[in-house]
């Protein structure tokens, strides 16, 4: 190894450390020169702040969990339907999935809220939010499920059927376990998108982390600081998930990786 290569190698191991140190120095300088006002950051040192924001985070996570369970259930059913149904019924399922996926999620949330309010079913914006998030994510998950099922070699099903398994048995014992294993990285990615999208409940006036943040900055007058902290909270939840998703993906043999993706393309 040449001296330069050795130096480069040495540096590459500390690249993140050095980058982190540069960021830290910039932040300290910003405080020292008064560009960042310490006064506006001080509320974040109070335990009461974190109890308050924690409450909002709890709502956000509850909404995400509820929407996740609903979307997984309906997504699985719709995905199987799309992959297996032929004829007019199959077209209807496909069209519904494609249309939902082609619509901005915020539009779905607003329309669901208005419909629920007009029909008098509920006044609760959180429920409207969970329903809206579930409609969109069911469609996305259905597409992931379809791709997972269709990615299996046709011989798998044929072998199971010729061994005397019924169609439901084949799905349950042969197709779904393998398809699910292939889908997990994409599903975890979609969970990240779902968690990010819960912030849109803010716009349909449902309480969640961002709305709690608003009450907080209205009191202390520190908008920018609150947005940064909320961004960091979301990052702290989503970053481990994205690492997890990538690890799952790279563990699979390359021919078992799905080309299908959630809302945004994952590049690996």
């Amino acid at each position: 190894m040449t001296a330069f290569a050795a130096l480069r190698h040495h540096w590459s191991r500390h690249g993140t450390l050095i980058a982190g140190a540069i960021v830290a120095v910039v932040i300290v300088l910003a405080f020292a020169t008064g560009r960042l006002e310490a006064r506006k950051w001080e509320p974040f040192l109070l335990p009461s702040t974190w109890r308050f924001l924690g409450e909002g985070l709890l709502v956000t996570l509850t909404v995400a969990a509820a929407a996740l369970i609903l979307s997984l259930t309906f997504g699985l059913l719709l995905g199987i339907a799309r992959s297996q149904l032929r004829g007019p019924l199959g077209w209807i399922v496909s069209a519904a999935i494609e249309l939902a996926r082609a619509t901005p999620i915020l539009a779905i949330l607003l329309i669901v809220l208005i419909v629920l309010l007009r029909t008098g079913l509920t006044q609760n914006a959180v429920i409207a939010g969970i329903v809206g998030l579930s409609i969109y994510n069911s469609a996305v998950i259905a597409e992931i499920v379809r791709a997972g099922i269709d990615s299996l070699p046709r011989g798998e099903v044929e072998a199971a059927r010729s061994l005397g398994l019924s169609y439901p048995q084949t799905m349950r014992a042969v197709v779904l376990p393998q398809a699910l294993a292939r889908m997990t990285p994409a599903l975890v990615s979609q969970l990240i998108t779902l968690i990010k999208d819960t912030s849109l409940l803010f716009i349909i006036t449902a309480p969640e982390l961002l709305s709690f943040g608003r009450s907080f900055y209205n009191f202390y007058g520190n908008l920018l600081e609150t947005y940064i902290v909320i961004g960091i909270i979301f990052f702290a939840i989503n970053y481990p998930l994205s690492r997890f998703s990538r690890r799952l993906e790279t563990q699979r043999p390359s021919d078992e990786r799905l080309r299908i993706v959630g809302e945004e393309e994952r590049a690996t």
């Binding site: 980058a19 082609a102 619509t103 901005p104 915020l106 947005y227 940064i228 979301f234 989503n238």
Partner: protein, 219 residues
């Protein structure tokens, strides 16, 4: 008034909203491609510290809600802070570009590393110049990897422009709300904007799946 003088005020507003959504998409896509290409090149060929910064950029902006990012820029650019502009369109374009740019970075990076460097050596030893090797060997393959995911990102971007309404940009979705309140609760504008979004997203989705099949075959 002007080009759409013959239409009533609501239809004019609707058409303006449609063009606002297209403007946001095109402007953000253009700058996201520039940001993504520069960042991906830095990520692949830059030093370790530069690489860490790009990784930090990609991870932070992909794992944070777009709405929080847009709200942040809107407040940051406002008179109370940097005093640059009150215009939500500027904040929306900046926010959408930086957010989408993080995704583009990963896509372009995967395009660059999808081509085996030994292919360049092979092309060079066959007598091609470095530039010719890039032009005839690397680029055709890299573009094939990159185009379908970039298409998907464009679709996601069209849909994400709806969030700009959250910082008071008058995009399609916002326009539906305005017309609804003007007409005392008419629901038709919401159906109209759904169709309007589909005129943008569905042809794109169709084109992407077509391209994906063609490029997969040609590989």
């Amino acid at each position: 008034m002007g080009l759409f003088g013959g239409l009533d005020a609501n239809s004019q507003l609707f058409i303006q909203g449609y063009f606002t959504t297209i403007t946001l998409t095109v402007a953000a896509l253009g700058s996201a491609l520039v940001i993504g290409t520069v960042a991906a090149s830095a990520r692949v060929w830059g030093g370790p510290v530069v690489q860490s910064f790009v990784r930090g950029y990609v991870e932070f902006f992909r794992n944070t809600p777009l709405l929080v990012q847009l709200l942040f820029y809107a407040v940051l650019l406002a008179p109370a802070n940097l005093n640059i502009t009150r215009d939500p369109m500027v904040a929306a374009i900046i926010g959408l570009s930086i957010y989408t740019g993080a995704y583009v970075t990963e896509v372009v990076r995967s395009g660059i590393i999808s081509v085996d460097p030994r292919q360049i050596e092979a092309a060079r030893s066959l007598g091609l110049s470095q530039l010719e090797a890039l032009r005839f060997v690397v680029l055709p393959q890299a573009i094939r990897t990159v185009i379908p995911p970039l298409g998907n990102l464009s679709i996601a971007l069209v849909k994400n422009t709806a969030i700009a309404g959250g910082i008071a940009a008058t995009d399609l979705l916002k326009v539906a709300g305005i017309i609804e309140s003007r007409t005392g609760g008419d629901f038709t504008p919401y159906i109209a904007i759904l169709v309007a979004y589909w005129t943008l997203t569905l042809p794109l989705a169709w084109a992407v799946s077509r391209l994906e099949r063609r490029l997969a075959f040609a590989r």
